[in-house]
């Protein structure tokens, strides 16, 4: 891989480059869809002004789900290596820092990076088999690693000291989890890392601090992941999804990039998971891995598919839609006099099915296309691109193609 950048102005001075970057970052001159994206980000920032502190839990959870969805998208949306157990990395990050904090008294400031690193190692462990296992086999491995992890939590619920090394001398806590770790933000005297005001205003500030901290994390993750996926590494990811042989023929080591995608994704999920348990989530297998230890991972897939795979921004849109279904149901409830909330998560699952079948590119792509069509017709032109919902250039369409080829190979081998 050559490291030289195909800069927009090749061979320019650094002053000219800075000028070009600034021009690119000027919101007025941006394409419409970026402006809408920035507006969405602004809405995220302004959201707390419309809510009471005790309503902040939902939006904060939403942001964490978006972070996890983005981390899924890097590996599955871009390289096409479907991961069905992404909560594994979240749990690794969350449990590492929680155990370090509760049982070894190590501050979250160190515990969170440690959790991130452990998740990264988990990414190597899952990524290595991905180098030699194809389609359905890899899906199976990713599907069962969180289940095995959850069994380990139960198995070592009282103490976890492999080879005499006291990793978690008081155990991993089984179904109840290792306990509540130190919070990053709390009211005065609560022992949190950052102690805020006391009393009710402290509770208010805690809720806001959790929210804005998560939001800041989301923006950082968004910038990093967009940076990686729009760079030359991102092109290789996409190339792996489309045709691994072509990547090899171009003299690139596809395995290295696959592993990189897995580790990057795991690091992000681990970081998110670690911060999650220090802000709004108590680490338990049910809370982090979900029902049957797989529901959470499936939710992340649903979020990414709803928003649009292979876009990084898509999962944020997906997470918002995910949260909105809950709110909309809550609003409809009193109107029809029937407790629709009991139906959760049925409407969401139905929505995911519909998107899968009718708009495999996800809501983000469909709305960008829809928007272009509207703009084109407003200008009195004919829209040249594909129609809404077509899966022509969608990442999912390419993942499908890759999977199909792998399945065909497996079936042919047997004959």
């Amino acid at each position: 891989m050559s490291t030289e950048n195909e800069s927009i102005i090749g061979g320019s001075t650094s002053a000219e480059r800075r000028q070009a970057v600034l021009e690119k970052l000027n919101p007025i001159a941006m394409p419409l869809r970026y402006q809408i994206g920035l507006l969405g980000l602004l809405l995220f920032v302004l959201l707390p002004t419309q809510l009471y502190p005790d309503q902040m839990g939902g939006p904060t959870t939403l942001i964490f789900l978006a972070i996890f969805g983005m981390s899924w998208d890097v590996v599955s949306g871009y390289t096409g290596q479907l991961s069905f157990g992404h909560a594994f990395f979240i749990a690794l990050g969350g449990y590492t820092t929680a155990v370090l904090d509760i049982q070894h008294g190590i501050t979250p400031v160190i515990g969170i990076p440690a959790g991130m690193i452990v998740a990264g190692i988990g990414g190597i462990l899952v990524g290595l088999p991905a180098l030699r296992l194809r389609g359905p086999y890899l899906s199976l491995v990713t599907l069962i690693v969180p289940i095995i992890l959850s069994k380990l939590f139960t198995l070592f619920n009282n103490s976890f000291t492999p080879l005499g090394i006291p990793i978690a001398p008081e155990g991993l806590g089984g179904r109840n989890g290792p306990g509540l770790p130190t919070q990053l933000f709390g009211i005065d005297g609560s022992g949190a890392v950052v102690e805020l005001a006391s009393g009710y205003s402290g509770i208010q500030q805690t809720a806001l601090a959790n929210y804005y901290f998560a939001l800041a994390l989301m923006v950082v993750v968004l910038v990093v992941l967009i940076g990686v996926t729009r760079s030359s590494a991102g092109s290789v990811f996409t190339a792996i999804r489309e045709d691994e042989d072509a990547v090899a023929a171009a003299g690139l080591d596809g395995a290295k990039f696959k592993l990189f995608a897995f580790v990057l994704s795991a690091l992000v999920a681990g970081l998110g998971g670690a911060i999650w348990v220090h802000t709004i989530k108590t680490p338990t297998p049910l809370g982090i891995l979900g029902q049957d230890d797989i529901q959470q991972s499936i939710n992340l897939i649903i979020i990414s598919i709803l928003g649009g795979t292979g876009t990084i921004v898509g999962p944020i849109v997906g997470a918002v839609v995910y949260a909105m279904t809950g709110i909309v149901i809550g609003l409809i409830d009193p109107l029809i006099g029937f407790d629709l909330a009991n139906l959760r998560p049925l409407p969401l699952l139905a929505a995911a099915m519909a998107v899968l079948v009718f708009a495999p590119g996800g809501i983000l792509r469909a709305s960008i296309r829809g928007g272009r069509m509207v703009l084109a017709s407003a200008r009195g032109e004919e829209y040249e691109g594909q129609s809404v919902g077509g899966d022509g250039d969608s990442a999912l369409g390419e993942i499908i193609e890759k999977y199909r080829a792998e399945l065909r190979e497996i079936i042919d081998e047997r004959r």
């Binding site: 699952l349 899968l356 079948v357």
Partner: protein
């Protein structure tokens, strides 16, 4: 201390249940190339249907004979499975990833629907089809375990005979070997697919009812067997019926022996670790290279 003989009998009966679940899963894969993740939900459906028909506390209060419940569970699951094929799978058949994720989501949908509309989060039970226990050479054996073993083995043998002797069975085999070749000799692949989906659904339904009789039923009861069935099928080789039966016994015995003699919290653990080792060493499975039988 449970006697060794009892552990073995328990292992045999649970393995034979896994075998029929795995056969359904592998048939659908072999014939249509579809990894059907809603298979677990069909297990739940069979169980819930039998509970509606013959359960003591069901809202229908039919309270019919458990045998009727068994047949009802089988038919309901088969019908739902057939409807899944006709209503959904048929349209996205050549898009494996969409299908994979879609069947996953449909499976969750069905299970959650069962929870919301039928049984809630609690356990439910149905009467045993044959109660009591028999004394076999000094060992007390639960009759239901024997029944499960006999019925499952009967189904396995019948499937074998069906596939190798009857016209439809041979057509199934033909489609799983080559859909083009099958089309050349005038086999309607759509029809054959439907037959395998019905068959797989019926097997899953029976397994669900029997699992409920053996233990108890819950809305999530299908997930664990689904993951085990997936493991069994990979262990035995994707698409191979013989492999599924052998794989089911390997997984069933590992599972029972570790939970019985090492730690009961290991349920579902040793089998999965075994599987990962297997995947890394011999990914094509035990019978991976032979044609589907």
């Amino acid at each position: 201390m449970v006697s060794l003989a009892n552990v073995v009998i328990n292992a045999i009966s649970i393995s034979s249940l896994y075998a029929i679940i795995a056969i359904g899963f592998t048939l659908i894969f072999g014939v249509g190339g579809v990894l059907n993740f809603s298979h677990g939900a069909l297990i739940t459906i069979g169980a819930e249907a039998s509970w509606l028909i013959s359960g003591g506390s069901s809202p229908l209060e039919l309270g019919l004979n458990p045998a009727v419940g068994l047949i009802g569970g089988m038919i309901t699951a088969a019908l739902v499975s057939g409807a899944l094929y006709l209503g959904v799978v048929r349209f996205v058949e050549d898009e494996p990833v969409t299908l994979l994720i879609l069947t996953f989501i449909i499976g969750f949908f069905i299970q959650h629907a069962c929870r919301v509309f039928l049984t809630g989060t609690g356990n439910f039970s149905v009467d045993l089809i044959v109660g009591g226990s028999t004394n076999l050479g000094g060992i007390g054996v639960q009759n239901i375990s024997v029944f499960i073993f006999v019925l499952s083995m009967l189904l396995v043998v019948l499937t074998g005979v069906f596939v190798s002797r009857t016209k439809t069975g041979k057509a199934i085999l033909a489609v799983s070997m080559s859909d083009k070749g099958a089309a050349v000799v005038g086999i309607d692949a759509r029809k054959i697919n439907l037959v395998t989906w019905l068959l797989a659904g019926a097997f899953a339904g029976i397994a669900g009812v029997l699992l409920t009789m053996k233990n108890t039923g819950t809305w999530t009861m299908g997930t664990q067997p689904l993951i085990l069935a997936f493991s069994i099928v990979i262990l035995g080789g994707l698409g191979s019926i013989k492999g599924s039966v052998v794989g089911a016994y390997i997984i069933g015995f590992t599972e029972t022996i570790t939970t019985q003699y090492i730690d009961s919290s290991l349920q579902g653990f040793s089998a999965l670790v075994l599987l990962i080792v297997f995947l890394l060493v011999k990914p094509e499975g035990l019978f991976g290279r032979e044609a589907a039988e």
